[in-house]
Symmetry: C2
Subunit: 335 residues, 2 copies
């Protein structure tokens, strides 16, 4: 580092600021320092450091689903930002609900000597991690869902509370026949189903199991066809609670196609929700905060925190935009 400072004609503090990305350095100076680093080959230290015993790569791994899902994109954005501020780089890997792909990706990331791992786990058993990670004990943080079969820090949303609030809102608007669309056997939507059942029970409304629809896939297409079936059945619902934003999209597609109006609350806010023909009421969750919190927990562990696994539940809140309203007579007008 002294060589770099000398060659660039700056102080050690300046080199350190450039390398760590902390504090303000004039552009021209930063470029000179970076060129000196390059010329001298100081950068090799990054890797050399990762080989020294007790040290690691100043890189952490992030394993999540399809980035074109805005939920994962926000998570990744926040984690990369927190990592960058602490001088960490992020190795990105995607698994998308395939257990075999997930195992391989985790093995691959550990093999690259990451200092820690943030994982959005699939719904399968994760006890294999106890073996896979037995030697290195790489700190893990699970996000959005806990992993079964292993224990580590986890950051979740208040799925049950948010779903209860969504359903209560529809009940307050006068709805009694409220359908729920559930994506297949995910932890989060399972909890959301619990919140729905609880709100109905608390309001003294019996659950009509024909209105509880578990989809084969969590896609907008599957949600659209389930909505079409619901709305053309003998006793259609007057409202739908869609447990993810893809399912909300499907409900909107089906109702627009059928020119039907149905009360709607979606879990997760989305861009353009307020610009829809009927602005969409949602349960909003701060996904970037989820990512930031997970990254901070992981950095704690990397820095030596050794307490028992921590479980953080982040609050969610209802944004009322109008789509939950009950249009009097709609249900009867159809028949």
């Amino acid at each position: 580092m002294r060589d770099v400072a000398e060659r660039a004609g700056v102080g050690l503090g300046t080199v350190s600021r450039v390398v760590n990305g902390s504090g303000a350095v004039r552009e021209e100076t930063a470029t000179r320092v970076l060129a000196a680093i390059e010329a001298i080959g100081f950068q090799r230290n990054e890797i050399a450091r990762s080989l020294r015993p007790g040290q690691h790569s100043h890189t952490f791994g992030l394993l999540l689903g399809d980035l074109t899902n805005p939920f994962y994109a926000s998570l990744a954005k926040a984690a990369v930002e927190v990592a960058g501020r602490e001088g960490y780089a992020v190795l990105l890997s995607t698994a998308d609900e395939d257990p075999q792909v997930e195992r391989r990706a985790i093995g691959n990331l550990i093999g690259r000597r990451v200092a820690g791992l943030i994982i959005v786990p699939d719904q399968g058993d994760h006890s294999y991690l106890e073996h896979l990670n037995a030697h290195d004990r790489v700190p893990l943080v699970f996000v959005d869902r806990p992993a079964t079969g292993t224990d580590a820090d986890v950051v979740l949303f208040d799925n049950e509370g948010g779903a209860r609030r969504a359903t209560q809102h529809l009940i307050e608007q006068g709805h009694r026949r409220i359908a729920i669309l559930v994506a297949p056997s995910y932890y989060t939507t399972g909890r959301r189903l619990r919140g729905y059942r609880r709100a109905l029970r608390e309001a003294g409304i019996p659950v009509d199991e024909r209105l509880v629809v578990t989809l084969n896939r969590g896609s907008a297409e599957d949600a659209a066809s389930a909505t079409r079936e619901l709305l053309t059945a003998a006793e259609p619902p007057t409202a739908v609670f869609a447990t993810t934003s893809f399912l909300t999209e499907g409900v909107l597609r089906a109702t627009q196609q059928l020119r039907e109006r149905v009360g709607l609350v979606g879990f997760d806010d989305f861009r353009f929700a307020d610009l829809m023909p009927t602005p969409v009421t949602v349960v909003a969750a701060d996904t970037e905060e989820l990512g930031r919190h997970a990254a901070r927990l992981l950095l704690d562990r990397i820095h030596g925190e050794s307490g028992p696994p921590r479980r953080t539940v982040l609050p969610v809140h209802l944004i009322v935009r109008g789509s939950g309203e009950n249009r009097q007579g709609r249900g009867t007008a159809r028949r």
Copy 2:
């Protein structure tokens, strides 16, 4: 590798398939192989390999803007997929149009011994890369925009052609007063402005420079306030060409607020475009293909391709959904 195969009780081919992620391996077998790898510490080879002369880390860097912009998310998704299939991991870094942050991020990625770099460059001068990368000669691929001051492979969209087509469509619908919203001095929107001017010239329509609006920032908010100004001016346009999807969002917000209808074509498709009160006509570009193509060019270079820099221009196409239509008398009815 032989040790791993022995310990896991499988053939060498199976170990290879698990490590490289190629071919089908039963879950249970894969787990056994991964556990054996862990136990033996075979993974250290990943890093050892990156230190051997002439070898590299089997990692490439991806430097782009804010991941909550679906454009960058699609790019990242595609690059990670191509990388994964070839046994590469992706180090993700974001710079978001700040030249100093960009330089530091590139220096940092090169310092981590990436095998190559995919960069969405900002609009500044990139000649510093000649110094920064002088020693390692890490292959670079620029994506979405070329970088000034240095030369490397680049993958672009046909911005000018797409913008010309968008403007032609509005002219075909009978519009003559067509405004354009341009994000500040980006390469892409500059080319789109050229396409707009060209289409008007070809149709014999003089450009009214009051209808060419360059925004201070490329945000939906700035586009909304520019649209409000345009529509409340003495001679309002009957149509707007929005050169990015954020700007399209801004036009939609302003027209909904003012309860005005204006012809609209946006550059870049977006989720929910077809569900808007008036479905939005767009110039659609395949961003995932952009990312895949960039990753393939980079892997070519990593594998030794040494020809002159290549420039690929990917086609775009118009999706007509109705928002470009001219509502007769609208312009005059207002005055």
